[in-house]
Chain length 140, copies 3
Amino acid sequence: MRSHTKHLTFEIPRRMEFVNITPQVRAEVQASAVREGLCLVNAMHITASVFINDDEPGLHEDYRRWLEELAPFDPSPERYHHNRTGEDNADAHHKRQVMGREVVVAITGGELDFGPWEQSFYGEFDGRRPKRVLIKIIGE
Amino acid sequence: MRSHTKHLTFEIPRRMEFVNITPQVRAEVQASAVREGLCLVNAMHITASVFINDDEPGLHEDYRRWLEELAPFDPSPERYHHNRTGEDNADAHHKRQVMGREVVVAITGGELDFGPWEQSFYGEFDGRRPKRVLIKIIGE
Amino acid sequence: MRSHTKHLTFEIPRRMEFVNITPQVRAEVQASAVREGLCLVNAMHITASVFINDDEPGLHEDYRRWLEELAPFDPSPERYHHNRTGEDNADAHHKRQVMGREVVVAITGGELDFGPWEQSFYGEFDGRRPKRVLIKIIGE
């Protein structure tokens, strides 16, 4: 069994943003030399996501507005108990649960076994500081 | 290490529907001859889900209504920016995020290591065309 | 390839609660002797979750209130069709979809490859009876 590990770092200037990380994931699959296996990609921070969807700016704008409706940013201690700790990012912990922490992607014939429009994204909900993403590949 | 790959195709006549795919997943576990390992099952389309829950028609009706409340179908370009591209399925991209893209199931003693009521479903949110699901099994 | 399987049982006295299970997951990683691999942790029941987030009581209170808003407990047969079967836990099947069924965590150098604040939780949405969680580890 082969294994391959890569930690990426992102520092997003805005609070909320989505970054297409498919090229980085693809590069690690190649570097791993795994032909058949699984590729885990996860946010290592609990106010961020890794998810798979469409690379279409209108959809990303829709996601931003929808997540803001589902879990509005509100630094006051009234809405979110978490913000009574001195944090202001309780909303980000909620948004991340909707979008998920991780994806697991099959590797078949040495390539990500993706459908035609699948692209992998880093989802940031509390940016403006360095945060990490993990790529772990196992297989043969 | 053994690996096994299967692509299934579904063409759902309705826009939104849930299909129990547990028999197909179980058949691939058997075909793989893996006794101990992991089984990834994922939608290969970004307006569809694979998820695990109960095979109870009332619950599925509840999910349909709840997802429609959280992310209503609306082909107009007003609600969803994504639909300004000529698409009408922005809602489906949102519904899929709530229900998830994939499941990873343990294989123990040659069987899906499921709890008593766990059943795996293909969740379609923008049907009426052929779409694929991937089953990837690795183990020994 | 090594594999390791552990079933945990929880009986939560309240309907909804979050329990930090990181020590149990860590102990199974150690018991597995896997140095490089993947660790799947999943709820075996469809009204429960395993998720990764912060071990902060205020955030857990926020999650409880937010999930109650998104999918309120309501045993009547009016709101949820599922409760026409005699069940009263339709809300729990919805809450679990928001929080997810499972997490997959990388094992690197014999340890869970976690970010600084990542902690794994069992999320119970219909407690007061014994329910199981599965830990499955594969690797080398």
